[in-house]
Symmetry: C2
Subunit: 735 residues, 2 copies
């Protein structure tokens, strides 16, 4: 990694008023002004090209009065009574090389303002640090080690983000335990109405929000809905990343970066004044963080641009994370996989092996004597079929869910010892299958569903990873379905965030890549731990088999969920009518080409080809794109984009001269002329264009598509038409 | 182990009234009557020699309405509406051999009544099983696997123990997180007054009960008091084991046996009607247990006798536990140890190595560059001195507390990663010291203070045990000081009980003996896991260096705390005036001989000689008893006993013909004539009698003692006089 760091006192810093200071981004577009108000409250505002983005907003934290207060826990707030004791403005510019991602190299160029505060009443000092980029900014709280602030408990962080108006917002209801709600598109003023219409947000146990009388359409649209584990906390609480758009065309995104040893942030909206305030995830005691100095909060990020494409092109969140901590990253690689999964999601098979028992206890059951249910899909024959398919089609790995004992009653029963992560069902020959896969150049992809019994997972983790090493697995999909054990904790609490990172760090010791589902939404930690190759952390393809996802879903996620890191969305369901092969009557809410487009629109080094081999057999011409598409990139060029409407992007495959273009749109369809100015001058390329048919539509005619080839060169213009709920996918191969 | 089990339908079982049934102990002394009341509530009563012990009392459980109720959690109570569908009375008589304890073999002889119930409203069946012994009984709930009862959450167990009057009671205030309160001696009617005088029992965080204005005398007597972690829950809540005495001379003891995968039981007193009802320890959600059928509760035990000695001689609680699960127990052995501990408890040294930092983070500190504080006692020179002392005096092991990094800020700071359990301080040469000890026939005794950060301990446990194997440790003292992490949980919850047992089971795999401090009070699990050689679970000798313990404390504990298993009380402080060698002004509340007596009165295979080598040097004549005393026994004969007054016991050392006699009394002194009828006929013995001097007293003259030798034989009578707060200790060696 080439590193060039310039740290200088930047000349343009100036004292505005008493205590007020200003820092401007390298190109001058973004400006942050910082001041102390009359009450000694740290206050900032943010502008973009002279337009206000964030109105004056207070910063600070409420601390809890703990039973240990007399022993060093300081319970007075860090909100007011501060004086500025110093500040420092510096500049930074270097370029680093990610292990994978949408660019070959990433420039990290910002101006920084660090303001030191002293709170006389409690003899405490803190620092607030702003890093201002050309496409936004991040700030964080830093707590130096000091005599009167060694340990403290956070009751609430009170970071404000005062919006300048009733913006449009692409958002998801706040929840301590699920982030798989449908994405909402409303004005900020409509957040409250949408949440209260569906949720008993004042019911801490979440019992009130079961809606078994929901129609499927309502489930698909509902802002909150029936899920195993969910804890909605406020009628105006939303998750980050949230995408916003002002009436004068500014795009704003609020999220966080480098979420380590801290609770995950939500935002609570004061919908009279349009002010968001941070709202952290509590632990079982209701408090929101136990801190020991020296320490810091994650970065709170505000992306801003007048070009929606910059929301997608930004590397700000990655830049705010620490550099890679893994010395040898040679074992981390892009992974395209299929797997024994969609069959069960659709209801055509089971994870569990037997129906014989109303419940099982792992230490008391002899599966070898249990009666097989005949629906268990993770069996040797079926897995061999997938291995053969992967080997024939250039897929790297085969995920097998339901391979291990314990699935008979795994979810939502408060079972502590639900899985052991090492014992296969009798019909899954783990040694043979790994050997068979390896003989064909394929690996199996491990699955660790924890059932959110985290205590149990940690007790077995070392053995589970060791088993993977023993058999030659190098990637694991982990899952956290259901309520957290230790009971009372939440999926996004400080302790759980520490657990997810612990699992990633322990995996790294074993050279294992991690794809953690239901874990906290990512915040760019994959820069530091690039073996974190995927997360779910949003509503993935599986919901198409439950209630469906609206066509705009996949053109919102890149603006929101993908801000912090890649998603294992599991696209590629080419048999879009599930009833053709199962009892499931659902239809996918995209066209076939729309499915292909997702591989490019959703940047991820780990991508599933989610459909069944026998379904792909019916669409081998379209499947060719999935075979060909790269997962790691030297460059990415966003052609056009609008949240919830459309995204068109061209990406250059890592280490090649080939490009792949993906376009995805919502239910309204989309037309875009793509000028191929990113191709090398004077060079010829063969473009294979997978396009929706003229009559294609996600509702009525999903499987209508054309595949055409043409020779293209720099400057050529492709006139692309995407059907309602459709898309476009293009391979551009250098000749 | 020789096993003789007779299972027959016992003839004396009779139907009393409609649905009423009776079971009588083998010798007929104890009788339990069982019936269903008008509301279909299971009801029992208990008699001893025809006298009522427990008035009619209801049994049952309240279940919680869980958010998962619709998915298999059944929220209707198991309290009433039951019908008896069957019952079975059987008899059992066998004898088993404990790995260690107060007897060579133990007879397990009971009559059993198992009553099957059906609750029509919910289509559920349960069984209540009574085992009736000659000295008491135990009952438990059993929940068979069944369609309509697979998983359930316990809101509260409602087992009643209706006393027949306002008995005298030896008790300790109920608390979810500490059992180190002073023992109380009051009528049942005075429980409320004593607790409310000291505790804000209605304050769930326990903040209100800090009494920094307490005088030391008040701290010593106070029913509840200032402790790091405490959660008093009721003004009439008490812990078990509780010892009771009726006005007509019956001794009754309430406790539990085989506490596995269940929450620890307290008792809440209805002090109008003198009815105890079970009150379980909650987890962080407030609920008290997550159950999966088939399963059962622990046994609820009622010991009864008209002879106080039988309370101490009983093996009922051990008998109600499962047989030993460790196949090869050859590595489990009695252990007498000294250690680097009392110095720090008294305040004459520190566990921590440096005072340089206000707090430390293990991954950020370089101890090799830290400035030593000069008070760190676990240093190589000091430990060598203890090793030399142990080797010279026949002690088996040397405990070293403070050997490992992290003690600078270990307690009550909500630090998750407080210790790593494997890294020594720079001045503790772990390899050298173990080699040095082994060369002298001594082992080091490991110390794992967890700071109650259980998540952290479990992450390091395997490596920590492996380190012990690597260096040749075979016993660990573990500790759980402070509030539990995962936050919100309690020391005595179901999850924590599972953790303690997990630590013992994992230790057994490494052939490691466990002595767990601050863990849940024992319930006879040492029968099943005899590597659980000790627990603290009550106020030990350390409190003599804080506020003191009253002289009656050690003649209450054998009736209460020791019912479930041995205690690492750490006796043997022969320099009873701490100010002679430290700045601590406290004086031990026993005479020197009283300290010696504890080794016999308190039966334990693990005993510390707690004082410093240099202090023992001053009392080598008295210390001889500590050198000589056995820790494991072929037989135990209780000469006389009265709770809180006195205990005299003679024990025959395992595999020898030697006896040791211990007598301990409260502040009033005690006289006892001991007829040596337990000695072998025709054989001569040399008795060495360690007696209080005539003017001895725990208050004014603790170090007054005489040591006399005499030849004794069967039938001789020793006239023993114990001083106030004193005792007697006798070695009786076969010639």
């Amino acid at each position: 990694m080439k590193l060039k760091i310039a740290v200088t006192i930047v000349g343009f810093m100036a004292m505005l008023t008493a205590g007020a200071q200003q820092v401007i981004s390298p190109n001058g577009n973004v400006q942050v002004n910082f001041m102390i108000d009359d009450g000694g409250r740290p206050t900032y505002e943010m502008l973009y090209k002279g337009k206000m983005v964030v109105n004056p907003s207070h910063l600070g934290l409420e601390l809890a009065r703990d039973k240990h207060a007399s022993k060093g826990m300081n319970e007075t707030d860090l909100l007011e009574g501060f004086a500025v004791t110093g500040s420092n403005v510096t500049s930074h510019d270097d370029t680093w090389t990610p292990v994978w991602g949408q660019y070959k190299t990433i420039r990290n160029n910002y101006n920084e303002l660090a303001v030191d505060f002293y709170q006389q009443s409690a003899n405490r000092k803190i620092t607030i640090r702003f890093r201002v980029y050309d496409d936004g900014m991040g700030f964080r709280y830093e707590f130096p080690q000091q005599k009167d602030l060694n340990y403290f408990i956070i009751k609430e962080e009170k970071s404000e983000f005062a919006m300048t108006g009733n913006h449009m917002a692409w958002w998801q209801a706040g929840d301590y335990d699920t982030q798989e709600y449908p994405m909402q598109v409303t004005r900020l003023s409509d957040v409250r109405g949408r949440i209260t219409a569906c949720a008993r947000w004042d019911d801490p146990k979440g019992v009130g929000i079961r809606r078994t009388d929901y129609t499927e359409d309502r489930q698909r649209d509902a802002v909150v809905w029936d899920n195993a584990s969910q804890t909605v906390f406020s009628p105006t609480g939303v998750q980050t990343s949230i995408q916003l758009k002002t009436d004068d065309g500014l795009y704003i995104n609020l999220h966080e970066a480098a979420l380590v040893d801290y609770s995950c942030m939500h935002l609570n909206l004061d919908d009279k004044n349009m002010v968001f305030t941070s709202w952290l995830t509590p632990d079982a005691t209701g408090y929101k963080g136990c801190m020991q100095t020296p320490c810091q909060s994650p970065w709170r990020t505000v992306l801003v641009s007048d070009d929606a494409r910059q929301m997608l092109a930004s590397s700000l969140i990655l830049n705010l994370n620490e550099p890679c901590k893994i010395e040898d990253t040679s074992w981390i690689h892009p992974t395209k996989y299929c797997g024994v999964w969609w069959e069960m999601i659709v209801g055509h098979g089971s994870w569990h092996y037997t129906n014989e028992f109303p419940s099982v206890k792992l230490d008391q059951i002899d599966y070898s004597k249990a009666k097989p249910n005949g629906t268990h899909k993770a069996n040797t024959q079926e897995v061999m079929r997938y291995i053969d398919f992967a080997a024939s089609n250039g897929l790297d790995q085969v995920l097998v869910e339901g391979w291990n004992v314990g699935w008979e009653d795994w979810a939502n029963m408060w079972k502590a010892d639900v899985f052991d992560f090492v014992t296969p069902y009798p019909d899954f020959d783990i040694k043979f299958l790994n050997d068979y896969a390896h003989s064909k150049g394929v690996k199996l992809l491990m699955h660790h569903e924890t059932s959110s019994s985290v205590t149990n997972y940690e007790r077995h983790m070392e053995q589970a990873y060791q088993l993977m090493n023993d058999y030659g697995y190098d990637a694991v999909k982990s899952g956290y379905v259901g309520d957290i054990i230790p009971r009372g904790d939440h999926h996004y609490s400080q302790a759980m965030n520490n657990h997810y990172l612990y699992a990633v760090e322990e995996a790294a010791k074993h050279h294992i890549m991690v794809n953690a589902h239901e874990a906290t939404r990512p915040t760019g930690l994959c820069r530091t731990w690039p073996n974190l190759v995927g997360n779910e952390s949003a509503r993935g393809t599986e919901y198409e088999a439950f209630y469906g996802s609206n066509p705009n879903h996949t053109v919102i996620l890149p603006f929101t969920r993908f801000q912090g890191g890649p998603m294992d969305y599991t696209p590629g369901v080419l048999e879009t009518d599930l009833s053709t092969w199962s009892d499931n009557q659902h239809k996918i809410h995209t066209t076939v080409v729309g499915q292909l487009a997702l591989y490019v629109v959703m940047c991820s080094p780990l991508q599933m080809a989610a459909d069944l081999p026998q379904n792909y057999e019916k669409y081998m011409d379209a499947f060719q794109f999935i075979r060909d598409v790269a997962l790691d990139w030297d460059d990415s060029r966003y052609i056009d984009a609008e949240p919830g409407e459309y995204i068109t992007v061209a990406r250059k495959a890592k280490g090649t001269d080939n490009w792949f273009l993906g376009g995805k749109c919502n239910e309204k369809g989309h037309k875009v002329d793509v000028k191929l100015d990113f191709l090398d001058k004077g060079r010829k390329y063969e473009a294979t264009i997978y396009a929706d048919g003229k009559d294609a539509s996600y509702e009525t005619n999903r499987a209508s598509y054309t595949i055409t080839k043409k020779i293209v060169k720099q400057g050529d213009v492709l006139k692309l038409v995407e059907a309602p709920g459709g898309g476009v996918a293009i391979t551009i191969k250098a000749i």
